[in-house]
Symmetry: D2
Subunit: 386 residues, 4 copies
């Protein structure tokens, strides 16, 4: 197999999970702009997600968010998904939208609130059992807004205790992915603010606990690919929540703000042996002002392009330059791959996969956008609150 | 008059404007936690604001936000305020919550949307005429989320054109305060992102246009007191929107995150001749998880304490050390004032003003919180959306 | 002329000025690593700079730094440059390396130090007269490390006074380029910390005073292309000091850290009419660990590549998408140009210019690196201190 | 014992270690400004450090930096220290100033350079044996400036291997303190960039390996007290390098930039049981423009003041407010302690300790500054290079 064939072969195995909530409305604290055709329920979200997979060929699973995607019969939902050509993916918990959670969830000073939050997490594992999902993705909005508001250390104790209980509940083949976030909605101290904290907890929990890297959840200037390389080296990288940002957790389309960073991240994934089924590649974005389905198609393509470039790095030339201490040449090897226009390669891959070489154009031609705008009238559009 | 008497005398003249919207509910994109007793309309907001003035003695005016505080008869509203012991202050425009504003307001690519936005701004001046407000405070959420989304420069042209039309409408004794903001809700390019942009526009508009410094609207690490000193030197500082932040535009209580910074800002205000009626000292905060009225009382007190410390700086000792190039001594003079506990001084000032020396305790004792929690049942609580 | 021919034609006119000091040793406060073959004097620096132009064809001028490049006879230096195929460019002043400047130069509290600094600046204009340079580039390290250390506002007064005196001295065809910098070496308040401050001073000085944008001199997250667009709109963009950074003022090779940002900047330059002789495109980098000449060649090529992509943007398609409010399509137009591999185009341009299509390879083959390493033995290598 | 007596008693036990290098010259990459009276050798540095202890009573030990403080007979140096009333403290290694270290030290691609670096670290343990120091403080400047320059992950392997060898060499009662740093002098990827990386290595090494928190080594906005609380909870906080910063690693006097942050850090230390001999409280600052000895005295006093305020927090009132979820009250308890002017308390403590209540004034009166300026003439002043 030629090198290019090997790259194409690898790209063919790529799987990017799209999040059900990205198909619904989202916004900022200032305004949520509703869009025509937005799904009203999980069934419609899955139909949209299926379109993304139909045109890209590499988005076979859909993450659910509980309770936003709560249904009576998850087996039926899973079947619905499969009928549309996709599968259900990670289960995402939500412990930030009930009034009880004003001061936190599993870190809350009140044991009753913690109990409620843990109950929700356990329920999420029940749902995993029902859907066959293997990943429980945990993001906690927990934190404090003011110095002194609560005891930082005790909150860690509560966190550890809550996580341990949920960890015990995990069945075979199930794992817990713990996400960290620099800030927001907590504005003074977030309870899982960085990869170190997530890592320390996962280490104590055991093998089934791993860290999720959301690319928008870091302090300004943080070298994210270093974290990726380190977590892979530690065997603790569970997956990604991809998106991009210029400022804070902007949740823009992945690759939109700093495509070179995305490439560097994917290079460390490839180099560190993370390009495979053990690491979950998920999107977690907010399409506040742009059309949602094509934005997600574009995002999937951006991940593909970055991956293709990462796979094209001439590893032996790079290794030689690195060992020789040739700073400029080693950097040039990396840049050569990055500067390559991989769009023809990906177009060719799509043709091999019996897909349209231009997924965006194909989606536009499909009439889906018009169809859902016309049909999905009335009812309550999905959003973060429902 | 002794020095301390002069400080007290100056503090007695201080006026901090509180914003009507801070009495309503607010939150993050993740959740708005409702609080008991929150006002349902501008009348109730003014009643709450009057409590802040009643207990602090230095919060005599209340800023309105249009359309959130729209009423049929502004004369009646002004009278209502006065009956409660306060006055109406600045009029704040809102060009970010209509669906039309998804891609901007006065910078929008579509002239019809720009026309609508300008119409709203002109209406705000009408309201100023009716209320006797002198300040039109303009904050634009305008910007773009993605490179290429719109033409950065043309948006400046549209901004200049729109501002000019509104500026022309200002009557005698009225002015326009232009606010800048680093980012949010726009995540790529904000149309008025920094003081330089606001300054450049105000300069061209004329004397009635001045810059507002919101203390939470800067890039990480920005030296805000430098901007304050510079704008005062240029005669272009119109006022402040006070709040504090650890990360982005967190909108925490002013003085809560970095009280030393607040002191440095107030020192430059005092030193630059800005402590007087020409500079508006306004709060602009979100009390997402804390009780609103006592949080605003605390914020007013924090501004007072920072001001007191700024007034206590031994200016002649400072000047001598600065001229001598004595870095440590000059810094020590500043720190000496900052490290002083001014709470006894302010307690004494309040007693001079026939106020309780402890405004928070007095408010708690007053029973107002219980009263409004009991009485304000039913209806729609005020929030950013209404 | 086809579109591609027009792009090539424009690229052919491009001129990137390289800085004499980038050929000498540089480092961090921790260590300056010396490199073999580094020039010992301005004559050797110019010989190196000539190599960069020889292989790239677009680096025809060299900026000098006084006193580092002080010589007895500038006419002779200019002639030496021309004999090597390059010309002398901007004159850069230095008011930060004498012991007198510990607390500042033209903002220093002591009038005698200010006088000395102004004297140096006037001397730089004398040198411009002698070399025929048109640009006086001013960067002031002035600032304070501690709150209270000096009076922020008075320092602005001193700055204005000093600049005015130097401005008066400028002859016909000469201009003053004022640089701003977020921080370093001052760690509390820098006297020209942002574009707004530089702009405000330049505005008062007059038409010959313009702002220089150093791409590494901003707060984290700052949208630099916005500043570029704004300064061009105001007619106040004098030029660039190109370099790149991941953190602070890292002074890495331009385009190395965020090539997409460089592209966006160049797009605003092209779109705003700044691609021409009125805006100076200069490098200002530190090659602490990499070989200097090839690093500068690479940097020049990176600017070329970003410019080529900026020129390739389909302006009419972009305009149509922007006017239609099609966020995704407008962004796609920009990304299409960015994702294009322009290296073949530039290779072809070089062949048209009778240059080797691969400047780095050609330089390596030339033997210059070996030659200077062998010949430049003994003496004092050039660095920031000499 | 009354509460105040308990606070004074605790403060009396406080020990702040001052660094030998802070008595020498330092600066930025732009300039090192020499100061009169600066020590020429370790013996003179210790004499200066003894003055800091003489006037503050809480700076009994002095950290050494190898090779800057290399002497033939460390026993003699230790005796010299004791004769002056101080003791030798932590040994700090230096693997960043030899030409060999251009691309790293124990992470260098070349095994020979790694061997040299490890050799130096082992030599430092030898010196610890000779001086009786218990702490080996390791800060590595290692990292890369450009993407691709070296293999991020392999560098971690090399780091782990090198640390393990040094760890094995530690004797009884000796420990290894591993410092992390966000960036500088490496500008792309630093090999120990954050607490998580340092923690992960220390965990594998064993009980004698602990993390050092340098307060200036974090990304913008990082909540340092959270890290302190977390490391204490994990039993992995070895000590502090205190200093302060407005921007990057500015190395200003501790408490000068954000005294409230220093207080919050000291509160977590006290609350987490870290106020005792197991955590080393060290300064690591650069007095680039201010007089060194009084700056260090001021810094020690700033740590004392922050500690005093932290000790004054009404823990039971805080606990009650936290458990009640009273955000404002809990914050008020913390702020009440912070706003207290503790200078009278510390003056009284000093009198109890037979010290002058005003250490700065006492130092100024002592004539030491004049004496060393007169006597220390000739020779090579100490600085980072020697």
């Amino acid at each position: 197999m030629t090198e290019l064939a090997a790259v194409k072969s690898a790209l063919r195995t790529q799987a990017v999970e799209t999040p059900s909530w990205a198909y619904g409305n989202s916004g900022t604290r200032f305004k949520v702009f509703a869009q025509a055709g937005v799904p009203r329920d999980p069934w419609e979200k899955l139909a949209d997600a299926a379109k993304v997979h139909e045109f890209t060929g590499v988005a076979p699973t859909v993450a659910l968010h509980i309770p936003w995607d709560k249904v009576e019969d998850y087996g039926k939902l899973a079947k619905h998904a499969e009928e549309h050509g996709v599968k259900l993916g990670a289960i995402n918990s939500n412990t930030f939208q009930d009034d009880d959670y004003k001061l936190g969830s599993i870190c809350h000073p009140d044991a009753a609130v913690r109990r409620k939050a843990i109950g929700h997490l356990l329920e999420c594992v029940d749902i995993m059992d029902a859907t066959g999902s293997t990943d429980l993705k945990l993001w906690f909005a927990d934190g404090t807004n003011y110095p002194g508001q609560d005891d930082i250390r005790e909150r860690q104790d509560r966190l550890a205790e809550g996580l341990a209980e949920v960890y015990q509940r995990l069945g075979e083949g199930q794992r817990m992915l713990l996400e960290y976030k620099f800030f927001e909605p907590a504005f003074y101290a977030t309870d899982v603010p960085d990869w170190g904290t997530a890592y320390a907890h996962c280490l104590k929990l055991g093998e089934k606990a791993q860290v999720v890297v959301d690319t928008g959840h870091h302090a300004p200037g943080t070298n994210i690919e270093f974290i990726v390389a380190t977590l892979l080296r530690e065997g603790k990288l569970g997956g990604f929540d991809f998106n991009s940002r210029f400022y804070a957790d902007d949740d823009l389309m992945v690759g939109a703000a700093d495509p070179f960073q995305l490439f560097r991240i994917m290079y460390e994934v490839v180099r560190g042996g993370g390009f495979g089924p053990d690491v979950a590649f998920m999107l977690d974005q907010c399409h506040n002002i742009e059309a949602k389905i094509p934005a997600i198609i574009r995002s999937v393509m951006n991940v593909q392009e970055a991956t293709a470039k990462a796979l094209l790095v001439d590893r032996s030339a790079l290794d030689a330059a690195q060992r020789a201490g040739d700073v400029l040449e080693a950097n040039a090897v990396i840049m050569d791959a990055y500067n390559t226009d991989v769009r023809p390669l990906l177009a060719s891959l799509r043709e091999d996969m019996d897909l349209d070489p231009d997924p965006i154009a194909a989606y536009r031609r499909s009439g889906w956008a018009q169809k859902i705008a016309e049909e999905r009238v009335g009812g309550q559009q999905a959003g973060w609150g429902a």
